[in-house]
């Protein structure tokens, strides 16, 4: 077991950050913590990377206790905090060399590990980190976190505020790193990234809603979701929420995802209702469940 978390709780003077959280990450796994801001992801990361003490509970990283063996853990992990943690006034090369020196290694020694990522930012290697775009900063930060060949990589919201192209590339890099045997714990507020993890924990308000593989989470979901489309989307959402047996209605891409309270729901009834409400171009079909649907449902149940 690469990471083991048992009943961890932590609260700050005003808020409860994480409450009684337990989970495990297997060796070589790409594990995702999925949840919005304020869910407690960063707190959890800080506890596991030994920079914060939990109020209660136990946690081990690479078999080492996060409190007693913190020094040993710090040698074995790579950490990319949520805030961009590089020296803004140093160039790419200077940042890399700096972090290599701190970890008692050199850029050349582990070059093969970061090579694929590094060549993408190499053309700008003399540019100051502060002047890089979001996507490049994130690649540089990843290189820095990898420079000492860590066994476990902790990435706290590496893709927040990054555009879809850079995000896609970033996840491709993570997949390749995983193949090299590195265990990765990553957090993200983007639900679509959840599907790219081996297993995920859905987390909200300091509590874990569900832990499983994305496929299982989706296939074990027992409600049928309908995707509804009409010409006027805003009116559609309002009208669906007025439909007597409605359970939930949320905008979802070009459609509205609708769930009915009734198991024996008949879409034609709904279509009739929408026609009465003067909707046109009505289209109702069963939708493919996504992690985001499940997450929203769990959130509603939790409230």
């Amino acid at each position: 077991m690469s990471i083991q978390v048992e009943n961890i709780s932590k609260s700050y003077p005003k808020t409860l950050a994480v409450s009684d959280i337990s989970f495990e990450v297997k060796e070589g796994e790409l594990f995702g913590l999925i949840g919005p801001d304020g869910a407690g992801k960063t707190t959890l990361f800080r506890i596991l990377t030994t920079v914060l003490l939990a109020d209660e509970g136990k946690a081990t990283v690479a078999g080492l206790d996060v409190i007693q063996d913190y020094k040993e853990i710090r040698k074995n992990i790579g950490y990319m905090p949520g805030k961009f943690s590089l020296y803004q006034d140093l160039t790419i090369t200077e940042n890399l060399n700096f972090f290599a020196t701190i970890f008692g290694t050199t850029l050349e020694e582990n070059y093969d590990l970061i090579k694929e990522i590094y060549i993408q930012i190499e053309p700008f290697k003399n540019r100051r980190a502060g002047a890089l775009s979001g996507g490049m900063k994130q690649k540089l930060a990843l290189c820095c976190a990898l420079i000492h060949k860590p066994k476990i990589l902790f990435l706290d919201e590496p893709t927040t505020g990054v555009d879809p192209v850079s995000r896609k590339e970033f996840w491709e890099m993570l997949k390749r790193l995983q193949k090299k045997g590195i265990t990765i714990l990553v957090s993200t507020p983007y639900m679509d990234e959840a599907a790219l993890c081996d297993r995920i924990a859905l987390i909200q308000k300091g509590q874990i809603l569900k832990i499983d593989s994305p496929e299982n989470i989706v296939s074990h979901y027992n409600k049928t979701i309908y995707k509804v489309r009409t010409k006027n989307k805003h009116q559609l959402i309002l009208d669906l929420k007025k439909y007597p047996s409605h359970y939930s209605a949320f905008a979802f891409g070009e459609h509205v995802h609708y769930i009915d309270q009734n198991i024996h729901f008949d879409p034609t009834e709904l279509e009739k209702y929408l026609k009465e409400q003067l909707h046109s171009e009505i289209d109702i079909a069963v939708a493919k469940t996504s992690i985001e649907d499940v997450f929203m449902d769990f959130t509603m149940l939790n409230q």
Binding site: T49, L53, K83, F84, S85, L86, Q88, C144
Partner: protein
């Protein structure tokens, strides 16, 4: 909030009490070669004034140099032989005011006040008696015969700059890492805290040494400041003070979470006390007693005493060992406190 509202009050109190060019209870010594009725009267008059406190009676001119080197006594009043006889026979007698002019302002004020007391004495005397007596005062200035202000100015500025560069810059550069989040990465690295701190502090040691050297060189070559004592001792003491300031900076950074707080703490907590309470501008001896006591915990006070003693008085370690030990003690205290305060974790 405390800083915003408490500080102005504290400052106005400090300035009100400390900023005064009046002198108060200045310690002086008397060398009375005549020991007659008149000199006794004068001495009593001086002793009765609130400006002076007669610390010591000495018996020979040879002792003067030694007492000034110690730095406690700021002036010696010398009554000539046969004072009363001269006064009666020649209607004129001599008093010499010898002052320690390493602090020119104080020296000047002492001279003026003493003159005033003597004049007052003569006037009272002349009312009773018909003859007109006169007292001829001669002033002698030790260490700084031209009363150059730069002689206090250079050591003062050096102290302020070293504090500024070392303490403020160190604390700001460390808190900056906390703000940027780079500290988090440094924490999660095999580096131990000592290495992180030393790495942050080293450039500022270097910078401070250069600064100190430049100030001394400018002082000597541009303003004619003497270096009477050993240059090596001066260098050693300056280095010691740099370390003191750095350890203070580290201490501040262990407490402050943001650059802003670090800056406020260094400015309010270090700079102002240095300027007000170190004796750089306002003589400590004329401050109220509580402030005099507080001034003892300010490292800058001791450093200013030390460099003045070395540069102007040519003092060796034998004379300033006490001040040096105090500085070393303070430094160790700050370092220990910062190590205790330094957190291997956030929060």
């Amino acid at each position: 909030m405390f800083i915003l509202f408490g500080m102005p009050i504290a400052q106005i109190m400090l300035f009100g009490f400390a900023i005064t060019n009046e002198i108060n209870n200045v310690k002086i010594a008397i060398l009375d070669k005549s020991k007659d009725k008149e000199t006794e009267k004068i001495i009593n008059k001086i002793s009765a004034s609130k400006y002076f406190h007669i610390e010591q009676q000495i018996s020979s001119e040879n002792q003067i140099k030694a007492i000034f080197e110690k730095g406690k006594i700021k002036a010696v009043l010398l009554f000539e032989n046969h004072f009363i006889k001269n006064l009666q026979a020649q209607k004129q007698a001599k008093v010499q005011i010898i002052t320690d002019a390493s602090d020119p302002n104080t020296a000047n004020t002492i001279t003026n006040y003493t003159n005033a007391i003597l004049q007052n004495y003569i006037q009272e005397n002349n009312k009773i008696k018909t003859e007109n007596y006169q007292i001829d005062t001669q002033t002698q200035l030790y260490y700084n015969p031209e009363l150059k202000g730069v002689f206090t100015f250079v050591p003062g500025v050096m102290t302020v700059i070293l504090m500024l560069v070392s303490a403020m810059m160190t604390s700001i550069s460390i808190t900056k890492e906390k703000e940027l989040g780079t500290m988090e990465v440094l924490l999660v690295s095999p580096l131990n805290p000592l290495q992180v701190i030393l790495g942050k502090v080293f450039p500022y040691i270097f910078l401070s040494i250069i600064n100190a050297t430049v100030i001394v060189i400018l002082g000597v070559f541009v303003f004619g400041m003497p270096v009477q004592g050993s240059v090596f001792l001066l260098a050693f003491e300056s280095f010691l003070f740099i370390i003191t300031a750095l350890s203070l900076g580290i201490l501040i950074s262990t407490v402050a979470q943001s650059q802003q707080t670090a800056m406020m703490l260094s400015l309010m907590g270090l700079m102002l006390p240095i300027i007000i309470l170190s004796g750089f501008i306002f003589p400590i001896s004329s401050m109220p007693l509580p402030l005099q006591i507080i001034s003892n915990i300010i490292p800058a006070k001791w450093f200013i005493i030390i460099i003045k003693a070395i540069m102007l008085k040519g003092a060796g370690i034998a004379i300033i060992w006490k001040e040096t030990l105090i500085l070393i003690g303070m430094t160790l205290f700050f370092i220990l406190l910062s190590i205790k305060n330094y957190k291997i974790r956030l929060e």
